[in-house]
Amino acid sequence: MIGLRASAARRIALISFCAYAVAMLLVAGAVYLATHAAFSRQINLSVEHASAALMAEYRDDGLAGLSRAVAMQHSPGPISLGTAVFAADGRHLAGNLATAAPAPGWHRITFLDPLEGPDTARAKVTLLPGGERLVVAADLEDLQAIDRAILGIFAGAMLVLLGIGVGGALVLARYLRTKLAVIEDTASAIVAGDFARRAPVGHNGDEFDRVAASLNAMLDQITSLIANLRQVSADLAHDLRTPLTGLRNHLERMAAHGGEQVAMALARTDEVLELFEAILRISEVEEGSLRRAFTRLDLAALLGELSETLDLLAEDAGKRLETRWQPGLMVLGDRQLLAQVLINLAENAMRHTPPGAAIEISVLEREGHVVLQVRDNGPGIPEADRARVLRRFVRLESSRSTPGHGLGLSLVAAIADAHGAALTLGDAGPGLIVTLTFPRKSAS
């Protein structure tokens, strides 16, 4: 389950649900208050009217007329009214309202309902000239029932809203996640090296389709820029190689007739040609068409095959080399390119370590992955420089004096990439540890 923090979709859904809930509460409150106030006013008016009518009886016929009227009083309207007349000493003179004599004015009183027992009512008490008191009261039961009904309706609505809100939030979150996951998948595939991958664009022309279309346009642009850049460097190397080889051939013919200077010129020309060769090799590997010729091969056996050559290189360089492998570790790849990786990494380790340094090359299986590792106990590469040394022509200040054109590790990186292998440079404490982790599917 993705938490709120990790899902913008859920957050949006929750916020919108909360906003609805607050709006609902405000509406419920307003309706309740307005209804309550209107009904209260209605009650007051009824009491007022009844009171006034009875007072008219009193003015016409005195206490006896009032008592008669009170005794006959029944509630004709929608609101049930109770009336009573009390003597100055509090005695109940007439009327159906079973309550004690209250003080004059508006009151909330408790009376005894013959059917339901004690009940509350809103009462107006009028002091008559003779000290008697006329009480007209409206039963509040109706008001309370209306209040309850309103609150009940809104509570029910609230429950329904809660259901719809939670459901809607989940549906919205799921919708957003599904839509965004498609774009996320595309981005991940690109990061993993599948530059041909594009986000599917729907037919609705909605925000998601527009984002996907923009993303695709951006990817097209970037891909074409990268392709251009590669093409330019490859073309440059290729086109310069032809006249340079011509130059080289002329120098060779001149060198045949002697001359140290010509020999030097020939050697320099060879260096430049080698450099172009390396650039073209990297371009070819990066371009990826070599992948079509990949076969299943035993990487451990390849290391075994090359161990004689690697041992000899180490011995020649005055380093101690140890090679270790588990037999039968298959990867999908190109034998020559992987041999190139082994040789480049070995030579790199030998070139950048002091005399007598120990170098270990291993091909082992780790968590289902075939892992090629080259570690040395030399000075290593500072963490900040590790990503940089994989770039073309980058040579660290500390290795300016060692031979090489700074393309060895770039080629390793390109070959690793073509094989879908993850290349990491780490700290062997002390020393450098270079790890190539091949994809799991090719290990089975």
């Binding site: 032809t242 080889t245 060779e252 013919r253 002697g258 090799r281």
Partner: protein, 234 residues
């Protein structure tokens, strides 16, 4: 190491050259002519095919792309007629699949343009060299290899070699005194069809040389810059 005077081949060869680029054609003609070979050049594939069938040439140097007839087609037509003339294919395409195409069609060797003339010469020599080896025991310059027992002797003295050194020496001895370039050795001994830009050939060669030369005055292997390595004739 020394700089060679132009090596005039002991054997004068008749070389057919099918190449449409006039500069390359001229240069190859000159360079091979300087070495004492007779070169007949054409820009036409059909012409090259006709000559290859009738002229009794020693080798055909065939460009992969020709204006009238593709090099591969020329090669197929030639091999289809059962003709065994050695063919060295030239191409501007250096990709693995192109190389395989050429070799599948029956080319004996393959050289990617632009190339060093010395590389071309070494490969022409290697292709036209008569095989002087007995099946199990090639020998040259006092060095004898037994392919079954993997034993190596120089002037009768046994020399112990690692497997890769043995392969290296085997190629040199089989070449019978002809030069093998660094690139050719990478292809044949390590199966590297591109230059891995390492010193593995040099390192192995220096080890092989010191093993072969122990107790001898004469260096068994000759290194000539730009030409390559060869076993010195005794």
């Amino acid at each position: 190491m020394r700089w060679p005077t132009p090596l005039v081949s002991p054997i004068r060869m008749n070389i057919l050259l099918a190449e449409d680029d006039p500069d390359t054609r001229q240069f190859v003609e000159d360079a091979l002519g300087e070495l004492g070979h007779r070169v007949v050049a054409t820009a036409s594939g059909a012409q090259a095919l006709e000559w290859a069938r009738d002229s009794g040439a020693d080798i055909l140097v065939l460009d992969r792309m020709l204006p009238d007839m593709d090099g591969i087609a020329v090669l197929r037509a030639l091999r289809g007629g059962g003709h065994g003339l050695p063919v060295l294919m030239l191409t501007a395409l250096g990709r693995i699949e192109d190389r395989v195409d050429g070799l599948d069609a029956g080319a004996d060797d393959y050289l990617v343009k632009p190339f060093a003339i010395s590389e071309l010469v070494a490969r022409i020599n290697a292709l036209t060299r008569r095989t002087v080896t007995v099946d199990t025991g090639p020998c040259f310059g006092g060095i004898a290899l037994d392919l079954r027992t993997r034993q190596v002797t120089r002037e009768g003295r046994v020399i112990l070699l690692q497997p890769r050194e043995f392969r290296l020496l085997e190629e040199l001895v089989r070449a019978g005194g002809g030069f093998l370039t660094r690139t050719m050795l990478l292809e044949r001994v390590w199966d590297f069809h591109f230059d891995p830009q390492t010193k593995i050939v040099e390192t192995h060669m220096s080890r092989l040389r010191s093993k072969l030369n122990e107790g001898f005055v004469e260096d068994a292997i000759e290194t000539v810059r730009g030409m390559g390595y060869r076993v010195r004739a005794s």
